[in-house]
């Protein structure tokens, strides 16, 4: 056994580096399920590698050589089926199992990482679904990179799997009602042989298209900011995101939906980026999108942010707390453009694994909720203002 360096955090978390992969545990004694997550870092992938990783995730959705997804679906211990998602600089795989079933969950997850089904037929199906591209303006807005050819073949997919699915890139996390070190031990005994490193080979670039139009009549404009790394800044960004655009008593609802131009969908979110969580804002509507109009909308949004009061902050704090596993069905955190972080143990395990992978620090949702109470209206106004004033604008007109 390798050396174990332990860090006990907030009384309920354990992080260890068993040999070379990272493992953290978030003990949640009252939870009814266990969430298990693996984040595989994919630092600076080439463009074709990014396309191949998406295809790999598609293959992994069909299961592993030990457990196909159909077989997993029939297991009574499974609470939610494995999800495989490609984000900015990582692949995330997670599932949740019933209380007491950490060993079973770790075995399924381990098999997915080290024995995915990568064969010609599975690759072909996954490629075809990638080529269809984003079907809705939402995913097109947040991820306008579309791959337009199918030169992503079996060899390329296997190459990226061997290249990135290495213990040193792997950040495991478990959250749930288990004993300290139980999940760590479960993973240690479940983990199979890692794939051999690939031989050096030269592959051609994937062809890709940066979408310049939405796939439907609904267009959108989005703003994105640089990521926040410090835990307090992440908490503040989450609150700013809620005050701006989660729910109805929000800036975007007042200014955009109730304003002069009709729009049904306006949203804000935080997504993992290279070093932390980046804030995003999006407005969706039909009809022409003129840059001058967007500039006016941005001014109106800024004017509304200036009217925020302690009541705005209190509402955001309540929505954040409840959105992470209570009475509110959403929270600002997303894994990628199509998958919300969610709530409960699946969210907690994904959040802690992502934080260690992207910023090297353990931050749990529980800590985040505590930090969200130590802030001021001015702090969250500053973050919101920065997103609206300095965020990168992306415009995707409707067809």
């Amino acid at each position: 056994m390798g050396k174990l360096s332990l860090l006990v955090f907030a009384g309920s978390c354990v992080i260890s580096k068993a040999q070379i992969y990272s493992m953290s545990e978030v003990l949640m004694p009252d939870a009814g399920t266990c969430g298990l997550t693996a984040v595989i870092k994919t630092p600076k992938p080439e463009i074709w590698e990014q396309a191949a990783l998406r295809v790999l995730a598609g293959c992994m959705r069909t299961g592993s050589k030990t457990y196909t997804t159909r077989q997993i679906d029939l297991l009574p211990q499974i609470v939610s089926l494995p999800e495989c998602e490609v984000g900015s600089g990582f692949v995330l795989v997670r599932l949740s199992v019933a209380k007491g079933q950490v060993a079973q969950g770790a075995d399924i997850l381990s098999a997915l990482l080290t024995q995915p089904i990568i064969d010609a037929e599975t690759v072909e199906v996954a490629v075809r679904s990638e080529l269809e591209g984003p079907q809705n303006p939402g995913s097109a807005a947040w991820n306008p990179v579309q791959f337009t050819n199918s030169n992503i073949d079996l060899a390329r997919v296997e190459f990226v799997w061997r290249k990135y699915f290495r213990p040193e890139n792997t950040f495991l996390s478990a959250a749930g009602p288990f004993a300290k070190y139980e999940a760590e031990a479960a993973f240690r005994s479940a983990l199979r042989e890692w794939p051999e490193k690939p031989e050096k080979r030269v592959f051609g670039k994937a062809k890709l298209e940066i979408l310049s139009n939405s796939p439907t009549s609904v267009g959108c404009w989005t703003l994105g900011s640089v990521p926040e790394t410090r835990p307090q800044a992440v908490a503040n960004a989450a609150l700013a995101s809620i005050a701006l655009g989660i729910g109805k008593d929000t800036t975007l609802f007042r200014v955009i939906r109730e304003g002069t131009r009709a729009s049904y969908r306006q949203e804000t979110m935080l997504m993992p980026a290279q070093t932390g969580w980046a804030s995003h804002l999006g407005v969706f509507r039909t009809g022409s999108m003129v840059v001058d109009e967007i500039a006016k909308d941005r001014d109106l949004i800024l004017a509304d942010i200036a009217t925020w009061t302690p009541a705005t902050l209190a509402r955001a704090q309540a929505v954040l707390k409840e959105g992470l596993g209570g009475t509110y069905p959403e929270n600002p955190f997303w894994i990628n453009e199509r998958t919300p972080l969610g709530d409960g143990t699946a969210a907690e395990s994904a959040f802690s694994a992502l934080n260690i992978a992207i910023s090297g620090q353990l931050l749990t949702l529980e800590t985040l909720t505590k930090l969200s109470k130590q802030t001021t209206v001015e702090d969250i106004q500053k973050i919101a203002k920065n997103l609206v004033e300095n965020g990168t604008l992306n415009l995707l007109p409707g067809n």
Binding site: G32, D73, L74, E121, V125, R128, E132, Q135, N136, P137, T216, S217, V218, G247, K248, D249, R257, E258, A262, S263, Y264, R265, F284, R285, T286, A311, A314, R315, A318, V319, K321, E322, G323, G326, T327, Y328, P329, E330
Partner: protein, 377 residues
């Protein structure tokens, strides 16, 4: 009219039907209140369900109900969301073909806040011509956003029922023609006592839940309806819609608990399970539709090559799982049981599950073959 009879039967006396964890009561106004205590839950879900009986969309009013939902959700004082969100609460409002449902899940101590919001929503309607125009524009944007599978679902219903079972999203041009009076009348019909079901489910004792539900139901508009009836239709037909690699097939069904409905639902769930498709199935009194959306690929072809006996096992498992998921969580449980009660007092998830258990291979095979032929078309 089956429902006409029920209203007469339950009209002017209070009838309580209880088992250990559930209680249903019909109030003198005709409203049904229902409470269920769900062990191990921390939240309680409060819901109002208005039956569309006598209030269904017609070709001339297509989408008025959807507009009504948008306006009611704002509340008579137009502050529903403000009051709820500051408490971390969320109002879900949904319009289906046969019901309109409002739901808030809260901690037991927050129930009074939700009750006040629901009472305000039922108290009347704040509708001005300007607001109607604005909401019609917003609904136009909402419709433009619907997914391809949702579009196929809408199209399958149209093929099956023509103009008789109109899509609840509506027609934005017609929605803009609604008047404040037409909407106020619609609200009174849709949520009058005889059409109203209030459910309180989850972390609550049944007798307390019933009291909370009664406080909400007391705000229902009185409506001197002579008789509220469902529209009658001619015979529907099976339907199939394709675009790109995605195809939706739908087969009309009758009442929720009829053996044929159970068989067709099981066949659709089996297909969805085997081919990773999506099922759409809303319980109805009659004139329903079970549809499944799948991709034209090897997996779907392989799904159809299963024997009916093997498919029946998958269908049973998937249906049971789906139903179990619905009835073990406060919000889903209230939504399902409330909509079932809006059709008939004897409609229960357990009745449907019994039907799933008793389903014969011959009945299932017939349904399975119907879907297979429809897919092969």
């Amino acid at each position: 009219m089956i429902l006409g009879c029920l209203v007469a039967l339950f009209g002017f006396s209070s009838i309580a039907v209880a088992d250990s964890t559930r209680l249903r009561e019909v109030l003198p106004t005709g409203a049904t209140v229902f409470a269920e205590s769900l062990p191990g839950t921390k939240l309680v879900s409060l819901q109002i369900i208005g039956s569309a009986r006598g209030a269904q969309d017609t070709k001339a009013t297509h989408g008025y109900r959807h507009l009504l939902e948008h306006l009611m959700a704002r509340g008579f004082k137009e502050d529903s969301d403000k009051k709820l969100e500051v408490e971390g609460l969320y109002l879900r409002a949904t319009t289906f073909r046969d019901t309109m449902q409002f739901r808030v899940d809260c901690y037991p101590s927050q129930a009074p806040i939700v009750i006040a919001v629901f009472q305000d929503m039922l108290a009347g309607l704040r509708a001005t011509p300007e607001r109607i125009l604005k909401e019609s524009q917003i609904i136009r944007e909402e419709i433009a956003l619907i997914s391809e599978s949702r579009k196929q679902n809408r199209e399958v219903w149209t093929q099956a029922y023509g103009d008789a079972r109109l899509d609840p999203l509506g027609d934005p041009d017609l929605i803009a023609t609604a008047t404040p009076k037409s909407l106020a009348d619609l609200q009174r019909t849709h949520f009058c006592g005889a059409n109203l079901v209030v459910t309180v489910t989850g972390n609550v004792k049944v007798d307390e839940g019933i009291l909370l539900a009664k406080r909400i139901a007391a705000s229902a508009p009185t409506y001197p309806a002579a008789e509220l009836n469902w529209m009658e239709f001619s015979t529907p037909k099976a339907a199939r819609v394709s675009s790109g690699e995605m195809t939706t097939i739908g087969i009309p069904v009758g009442g929720f608990q009829e053996p044929k409905t159970v068989a067709r639902a099981a066949a659709a769930f089996a297909l969805a399970g085997l081919a990773q498709g999506n099922v759409s199935f809303m319980p109805t009194l009659k004139h329903g539709l079970v549809s499944v959306t799948m991709l034209q690929n090897e997996q779907t072809r392989a799904a159809f090559s299963n024997s009916p006996a093997a498919a029946l096992e998958v269908g049973r498992l998937q249906l049971r799982r789906w139903m179990q998921k619905q009835i073990s969580e406060p919000g889903r449980d209230g939504a399902l049981r409330g909509s079932l009660l809006s059709f008939a007092p004897f409609y229960r998830p357990e009745g449907f599950l019994d039907g799933v258990q008793e389903l014969k291979l011959a009945q299932f095979t017939e349904a399975w073959e119907e879907f297979r032929k429809l897919w092969a078309n």
